[in-house]
């Protein structure tokens, strides 16, 4: 069974419909890029997948024993975080709170997990630094390490490279691709179609026309055709 199956999903806020009758599925190991114009409902879809908002109709089925607290999430940065006094270690550890239930303190296993996540993102030397003093790319690595504490299966990323310079952007994409090669399923929102077709295995295009399929199918479809220049 697929990791995530979306059936006849209609999205929106209150009664205002943004996307209608969406169908797609994500298998373990896939790298799905969600593309589409501004206002096409990418973020709404993401928030619905994360159970932050309820769909108007339709359902999201989770398979392969995926539990709700096993989804890692890389949100866009908020204003609050810009001047938040917290060390890198504290933030990465906070990714473990979902799995703690009512237990008040982190155990040795969770501290170990946080240390491993920091190592994986090569931010161990920054562990005691303050989050607000880091560069944009370093901050994204911290948030990615936090997401890795929450999951070993599925990562959902919301525009992970917005605001980063080109060099750091490609570094970030490589990092995400590496996680995917290690077996973590990726669902990513992106504006950057060039990168989407370079790294993703599947594309979901939402907007006036809806397309879901593999990258190659997308490049040969009517929706994706005009992006031929990418190749």
């Amino acid at each position: 069974m697929a990791l995530l199956t979306v059936k006849d999903l209609t999205l929106g806020y209150d009664s205002h419909v943004i996307v209608e009758k969406l169908n797609f599925s994500v298998n373990a190991g896939d790298y799905l890029c969600i593309v589409g114009e501004n206002g096409s409902g990418k973020t709404t879809l993401l928030r619905t997948l994360l159970h932050l908002i309820n769909p108007i109709s339709g359902e999201i089925l989770m398979g392969d024993d995926l539990k709700k607290n096993e989804i890692g999430y890389l949100p866009q940065q908020t204003v609050i975080q810009k001047d938040f006094p917290a060390s890198v270690r504290e933030i990465v550890l906070s990714g473990c709170t979902g799995r703690m239930g009512l237990r008040p303190f982190y155990n040795a296993k969770e501290k170990q997990l946080a240390a491993e996540s920091m190592e994986r993102m090569s931010i161990t030397p920054l562990a005691n630094r303050c989050y607000r003093e880091l560069s944009g790319g370093q901050q994204q690595r911290v948030l990615l390490a936090r997401a890795l504490c929450a999951t070993g299966k599925l990562l959902i990323l919301d525009e992970p490279v917005s605001g980063l310079d080109p060099y750091v952007t490609s570094e970030m994409y490589e990092l995400i691709a590496e996680l995917n090669r290690d077996g973590i399923t990726i669902i990513m929102i992106s504006h950057d179609i060039t990168a989407a077709v370079k790294y993703a295995s599947h594309i979901l295009h939402i907007g006036e026309t809806v397309f879901f399929g593999t990258k190659d199918e997308y490049l040969n479809s009517d929706t994706g055709k005009w992006k031929d220049y990418v190749r």
């Binding site: 609050i80 006094p85 917290a86 630094r129």
Partner: protein
């Protein structure tokens, strides 16, 4: 000067004031960091006005223990404010302003229509600025304060990691399975309790100062959440003790003296933060 302090310490009411002062400043500073970071500073302010209104009703009803009325009303308001406050920022702002100004107006109105003493403006002034109530505490009130403070501190320690996660990133916490709504509720109820307690010390108009200044001072100097929290607690307790002693020696009002000390501490921390 030391003789004079030792002399005053012989009186039980001075000792009570010190105990309550230390506990209240400790509790209020703990959640201050979270409130400042979540942009909730004004919820504290709004709730303190609600507590003032509730106090007025309790006075008119001639209740012997006004906490029984003030505490539930303030807690309920906190819950209501938080429900409108999430996700809809502007509405939340307006709701706070509405409730706080409304409670204030009705409180004053009720106190004037049903005066319980000859000196209404004196009563109002002492509720607003806490002028002497800290020095007239009964032993029961001191115990109530001790019990509630212990509860607040225990809740804070037990939920410290969750409170941090929810403060730093509410969406991430919710998405990964933490019940952020429940923790927001917990924060709101706790802050309501602290505010009702703190009314004794500094009066309802000055409570926000006790909540936000130590947190802001600590944020100038420390880089980790734990560092900020611990330092703001220590700073808050020291400032309150200093404020109470100064007010006893110089005969100034307790509440405003404590707030003045807090502000001076903030300025010093601000300068130290620039230099370091």
């Amino acid at each position: 000067m030391l003789d004079k302090i030792v002399f005053y310490l012989q009186y039980p009411f001075v000792r009570y004031a010190l105990i309550v002062g230390v506990l209240i400043s400790l509790c209020s500073s703990l959640l201050g960091v979270t409130l400042v970071l979540k942009r909730f500073s004004f919820i504290g302010d709004g709730l303190s006005h609600v507590a003032f209104g509730a106090m007025a009703i309790a006075a008119v009803l001639k209740m012997t223990n006004n906490m029984l009325l003030v505490l539930p009303i303030t807690v309920i308001s906190a819950v209501l404010l938080l429900r409108t406050g999430t996700n809809t920022r502007i509405k939340g702002d307006a709701a706070i302003a509405m409730i706080s100004v409304g409670a204030m107006a009705f409180g004053y109105l009720i106190m004037n229509i049903f005066p319980t003493s000859a000196n209404v403006s004196g009563d109002v002034c002492s509720t607003l600025f806490g002028s002497t109530s800290i020095l007239t505490l009964s032993i029961e009130e001191v115990w109530l304060c001790i019990i509630l403070s212990v509860i607040v501190v225990v809740i804070f320690i037990v939920f410290y990691n969750k409170i941090f996660a929810v403060t730093f990133d509410e969406n991430f916490s919710m998405a990964t399975g933490t019940n952020a709504g429940a923790y927001n509720l917990l924060i709101a109820i706790t802050i309501a309790v602290i505010i009702v307690l703190a009314m004794n010390l500094v009066g309802s108009l000055l409570i926000s100062a006790l909540v936000i200044f130590p947190a802001l001072s600590a944020m100038r100097l420390f880089n980790s959440f734990k560092g900020v929290t611990v330092f703001s607690a220590v700073l808050s307790v020291i400032s309150s003790l200093l404020g109470i002693f100064i007010s006893i020696l110089a005969g100034t009002p307790v509440g405003s003296t404590i707030v003045a000390v807090d502000i001076i501490a903030f300025v010093l921390c601000y300068i130290a933060g620039l230099v370091l």
